[in-house]
């Protein structure tokens, strides 16, 4: 094989794995939209908030320490050396569940039967509130997140692929980031768990019933409020996974909330109501944008990925407005 061909395969592989990272964010949007029809603008901030909380627990940071110090003239920052990763992750999950309960209690409960746009606006407010709360609780510094996931190029893969090149060419092997490989494994695990949960548990069936028809679900005694808490909790856990993966790449900082921008084209392409759609959409966007940047980018000055992802999504939208896997839109007059 020629190095050019191998480079193309390398770009496709890295595109697929970048797509998985986008899908991790998109999954949270899909879960909430499917169950409640709400486009949750705060999903990116939830990932940030979850990652900030995790690092806070890991490092033994005292929440609201800046505020406490300002009010009482104290100098406290940490309560101890921190805790191990597993306990910190479990505690963060608890925080995200409490957060889901609070969202239902304080926001959604008061907006039952409101137009989707009103609920969307509420999530915009929620996003700004959470960003401020995260800042107040944990500070605005960039935090290093390490949960033990290896990162960096794989030497093994480089050695294996180096032998694939035809004789006479100088080739140094294919690059693959170990963090992306782990992210792919975790995403597969997450989707499997979500699928099994939704297919084979009573709560999962209730979730699907609510997703299919709110009114019908209510008539058979399914509590919409409980379902909302469960869905927001699951979306919070998915946000934590996305926060861990993205935070491990470039530190936990407030720009983490902007990863939501990467999920939007995935949702447009895959459909807002389909978990497989979020995965397939992510993969198509990831590969599409990377190949475009590889082939066309140098001709147009580069930095094509952000806009190309949206162009690709819009192209699909022209033929399937509901997205590749979204529910068919049927309007009866």
């Amino acid at each position: 094989m020629t190095p050019d061909f191998l480079h193309t395969i390398e770009v496709i592989l890295n595109g697929l794995m970048a797509g998985v990272m986008y899908s991790l964010v998109a999954l949270g949007f899909v879960l909430i939209f499917k169950a409640s029809g709400i486009f949750n603008y705060a999903q990116g901030v939830m990932a940030l908030f979850a990652a900030l909380t995790l690092v806070g627990f890991q490092t033994g940071q005292v929440p609201f320490s800046h505020l406490i110090n300002e009010l009482f003239g104290t100098q406290i920052h940490h309560w101890g050396p921190g805790m191990n990763n597993l306990i910190a992750i479990l505690l963060t999950i608890v925080v995200m569940i409490v957060f889901a309960w609070l969202v239902e209690k304080l926001v959604l409960q008061h907006m039952v039967n409101q137009e989707p746009i009103i609920l969307f606006m509420a999530t915009i407010g929620l996003a700004f509130f959470m960003e401020g709360l995260g800042d107040l609780m944990w500070g605005a510094d960039i935090k290093t997140l390490d949960v033990g996931i290896p990162s960096g190029g794989s030497f093994w893969w480089e050695d294996v692929t180096r032998t694939w090149v035809s004789e006479g060419y100088d080739y140094y092997g294919m690059y693959i980031d170990l963090l992306d490989v782990y992210a792919t494994g975790i995403a597969v695990l997450l989707v499997t768990i979500l699928t099994l949960f939704s297919q084979f548990t009573k709560t999962g069936r209730a979730l699907r019933a609510v997703a299919d028809d709110h009114q019908a679900a209510l008539t058979v005694g399914i509590s919409l409020r409980t379902i909302w808490v469960i869905v927001w909790s699951i979306a919070g856990i998915v946000a934590l996974v996305a926060g861990i993966m993205w935070g491990s790449k470039s530190g936990v900082q407030f720009s983490l909330s902007l990863i939501a921008l990467k999920a939007l084209p995935v949702l447009i392409l895959g459909g807002f109501t389909s978990i497989p759609g979020a995965i397939i959409g992510g993969l198509i966007i990831g590969v599409g944008e990377k190949l475009f940047e590889f082939w066309i980018g140098p001709l147009v000055g580069g930095a094509t990925e952000n806009w190309f992802a949206y162009v690709l999504a819009l192209f699909f939208l022209m033929f399937r407005p509901q997205g590749l896997f979204g529910e068919r839109i049927i309007e009866r007059v």
Binding site: H7, E10, V11, N14, G15, A18, M21, H66, N69, G73, H77, E131, G132, D135, A140, D141, I142, K143, T144, D146, S151, G152, G153, Y175, D177, W246, K249, S250, G251, Q253, F254, S255, L256, S257, L258, I259, K262, E289, K290, E293, F294, G297, G301, G302, A303, E305, N306
Partner: protein, 428 residues
Amino acid sequence: MKFMKLLASMVLSMSVAGVAYSDLVIPSLEYRTGPYAPNGIHFADGFTDYFTLLNERDGGIGGVPVRVVSCETAYNTEKGVECYESTKGQGSLVYQPMSTGITYQLIPKATADGIPIHSMGYGRTSAANGKVFSHVFNYPGTYWDAASIIIKHILDVEGGDISGKNIALVYHNSAYGKEPIRTLEKLAEKHGYNLTLIAVDHPGQEQKSQWLQIRRERPDYVLMWGWGVMNQTAIQEAANIRFNMENFIGVWWSSSENDVIPVGQGADGYKAIALHGVGDDFPIYDDIRKYVLDAGKAAGDGTNLGKVLYNRGIMASMLATEAIRTAQKISGTADITPDQMRDGMEALKVDAARLAEIGLPNFAPPVEVTCSNHGGPGLGAIQQWDADTQTWSLITDFIAADREVVDALIAEDSAAFASENNITPRNC
């Protein structure tokens, strides 16, 4: 009775407002929120703490207290312009926009309002030509100086010959990131290196394509014009592809602890250009601790002292202070106006002796500004990150930019600006 109370309170508030106007008003367009907050906080803390020190220790500058008026921009150009509009009426002496985008917007506005702008090491590079840009200053160095200084450092490392070398520029795809391109292209013509331009879109969290390209093309050196999360991601990706960090050099806005600490050991050896010294081993820090931090008057919690961007804030406020002192001397009044401040900035001279007197010996190269040169000396040193000790060290002296190339570009660009805006260059 009620009317009398109202009248009394109005008189009182007017008199208080009158007192407020006798302060030296320095607006601080800062960003403590949003995606760029981690950097903005360090700078804003240093900037504010220096003025607090002067107020607490010396009673202000020339006996007049300094009033820092903070306005949050979140690094957003529209908000920055709003900050300008809402604070300019308070007697603001000088604006430090802390953003190239905001600077570009404020250049015509502030010039029309007669208020000087100091875009220290950012903004429009050709504003260094004081004949055209009467109210804009970008001393002590510009982006074009930085590009030239980095190339001079590479020349030094390579024994004076870089012809045939491959140099890539990874840049933020914005007005800021594109600033050094022309200079690097001119320098490529002069020194014979090959330049590859690699753009990264805002915010720069995903750079896989860019670094796969670097891995394929194997440039000898990579330069970076980044900001915020783009910096950490780029340094992480460089570490991932095992790029030699000694050959990865960032501009002074890609040079903070925030950029390297999240990458851990992988960032060891990363270089960046420095406008000033590193660390807190300067006498002024004793005073900052005594009069500001220990007195509970610090802008932050004190953990940022000595960090690169905190020092940059100190540098910015120190230069503003020295310009105020110069203006007070020239005008013979302590309570100066923005016009007098502009004159002070144009006559600014901070030599090594003065830096030592301030408590910042060898912190920065001497700065001298003239009517025709608003860009200052255009010097920069190279700093390098040690991941073990988590410290930056200056590994070179302050290096001068290639004035032959940079000045010609400044003259060309500022002449074009003057022509487009019907500005007759001043004679000086």
